[in-house]
Symmetry: C2
Subunit: 417 residues, 2 copies
Amino acid sequence: MSEISRMVEKAKTASAAMALLPTSVKNRALKAMADGLDRGGKDILAANGRDLAAARAKGIAGALLDRLMLNEKRIGEMPRGLREVARLPDPVGQVISRRTRPNGLRILKVRVPIGVIAIVYEARPNVTADCAGLCIKSGNSVILRGGSEAIHSNRAIFRRIEAAGRKAGLAEGALQLVWDTDRRSVDELLGTPGGVDLVIPRGGEGLIRQVVAKAKVPVIKQYKGICHTYVDASADLKKAEEICFNAKVQRPGVCNAMETLLVHRAAAPKFLPAMARRYAQAGVRLRGDAPTRRILRGMPVQPATERDWATEYLDLILSVKVVGSVGEAMEHIRRWGSSHSDAIVTRSKPNAARFLKGVDSACVYVNASTRFTDGGQFGLGAEIGVSTDKLHARGPMGLEELTTYKYEVTGTGQVRR
Amino acid sequence: MSEISRMVEKAKTASAAMALLPTSVKNRALKAMADGLDRGGKDILAANGRDLAAARAKGIAGALLDRLMLNEKRIGEMPRGLREVARLPDPVGQVISRRTRPNGLRILKVRVPIGVIAIVYEARPNVTADCAGLCIKSGNSVILRGGSEAIHSNRAIFRRIEAAGRKAGLAEGALQLVWDTDRRSVDELLGTPGGVDLVIPRGGEGLIRQVVAKAKVPVIKQYKGICHTYVDASADLKKAEEICFNAKVQRPGVCNAMETLLVHRAAAPKFLPAMARRYAQAGVRLRGDAPTRRILRGMPVQPATERDWATEYLDLILSVKVVGSVGEAMEHIRRWGSSHSDAIVTRSKPNAARFLKGVDSACVYVNASTRFTDGGQFGLGAEIGVSTDKLHARGPMGLEELTTYKYEVTGTGQVRR
């Protein structure tokens, strides 16, 4: 039996106990894990130093190095997150629906943990603590498999939370880290039907495509966020400007930032010049279709190609297109979007309704920034990720989305006629 | 572009229209489809005759031939089913939850269709009408791919329902049948990531394993039903007898029939002889572990092997095991069960609660027959199948389980700080 099969078996055995663990014990474990991290800050920083040195030696710099880096502030966020999760309501045991049948059978649809969840992630070592906390609160066993670039940090974080969690009552095997950094471990984790119940990959599109290609077990994922904002003919242009500025500029490197701005041709001549000036001040570079460039002549707007409509810049770059109707905007989103988050800015109720119903994305907005697609902002308390899949979980995934359900049926001797 | 890609493209285009179709139009279409079948009975019988002749020529007989066979009664059930589905509530547009955030954002979680659903099935031609009805009522486009053995029947049924449905307002492409019987069509349907949104295979374990092995798109499935009934020490033995008889005998060839009987050793000496006599009268053959055979000595009980614990007989055969505790029964179910439907018969509330919470199956019963695992019996109105998966849908799948959700977020200009 390989190391991975042994881990999965242990996690399965633990998950039976985890499913029955009282909320109080799970919360106590989460707080103990937080305390463990508080005490282990120095060790974790030292381990992270080793990962950073190795990364620098490999020539890694910039955003990638930043994602890998821990400091006291970032380390402090991990225990704070765990304590927040401890305060959230426990989804396990919630009754989703109840019905009594004419023959007297009582049927309860009850939330239960999924079982064994594997998290395959890269770079950010904080995922180790964040995902462990969410999986445990939702009664699941979790197998963590971080990238080799963060292995020392991940191990140091894991050591602290695992020991503290187990002491506080978690089943052995409920929280495991794949210790080695051999690629074959991932392949085995993903490629064993009947193994883990769910894999959630966390990282760039490359990692996610690799996971999906290899997975013989269920995966919930987010490929990318090509989010649109459509400024309708009837839009309040002041609001449109605030929304479009926020959606692009407030944090451009994340999945719910806007990548393409669609503007109705009746609004474009007035809206685009003011908006473009504001973007220019914030360092946003524009790529426009021909009508956009005509309206913005004299400003540095590169021509947009089809490739731009399909690109998640994750940067201060924005593609802009002028459209003739809400229908044309919706058609563009259908063709080029990623079913993540898309917004309309309008004062027309029929257009708002048409957009809400007709755009097939996880989150559809009227008169608000796409940046709100987030478990915290939605009031879910915390999130393990955003799903662009349609099955099981869509959009921000919180604790509820880490559960499934079972039917508990109670009778008094009923048989089927 | 291949024929299958063209079909998927058409289905996608249609699904945008289907998602917005008013309930009244969908219901009118379902009734028109039912009328079409009523008028087409003779054609369908003739087409079925061709399938039956071809099957007989191949030497097919018995249960397989029976599954393929239509008669007036069976043909009459299809339009009745469609009219029933027309009467069920429309899940599309239902608000699952609503919340208003402190910043005034209104967030609605709304049920929407999944999109394009492919049904891959074998034998029973009635699946053509039944699945079409459920997919359409839930606002999805559907691509049907039946087995070659039923192709003439499937085409005849499809012709009637497709023409009638389209005339009554369904989008073109919302309802499609893969016309040829080339295996490569199935491979392409299953193997195109980003193609259909969901595949539901309907048929034997062999078909389902084939589909899963090839699928690069989401699948919801039921491998098999190895259902257990555990008769506890404290069981009302009269009730236990009725439940165990019903679970095995009422319809042995289906997934929710009992395959293994577990009996507490305190109940076994009194319960098993009476039960075995009753089973013998109904033609049930028993396979027992050593204690069972000791208690039933003099009766024809074959020795049960590990293989029996893992077998879905779908027949009048039952494996029997004596256990020492509810915990041992649960452990047996964990090891050998299929997470489908399992029951305890007991008068002990703690044991009932322990079993309900601890057995990780889609449907867990106290004092009732596992035969109730069924969309109709659960009050879902109709079912497209039973899922032994844990993600998205578990247990009987009705109209709701053919939907996903989206978040509709309405603001007044909110931006993220």
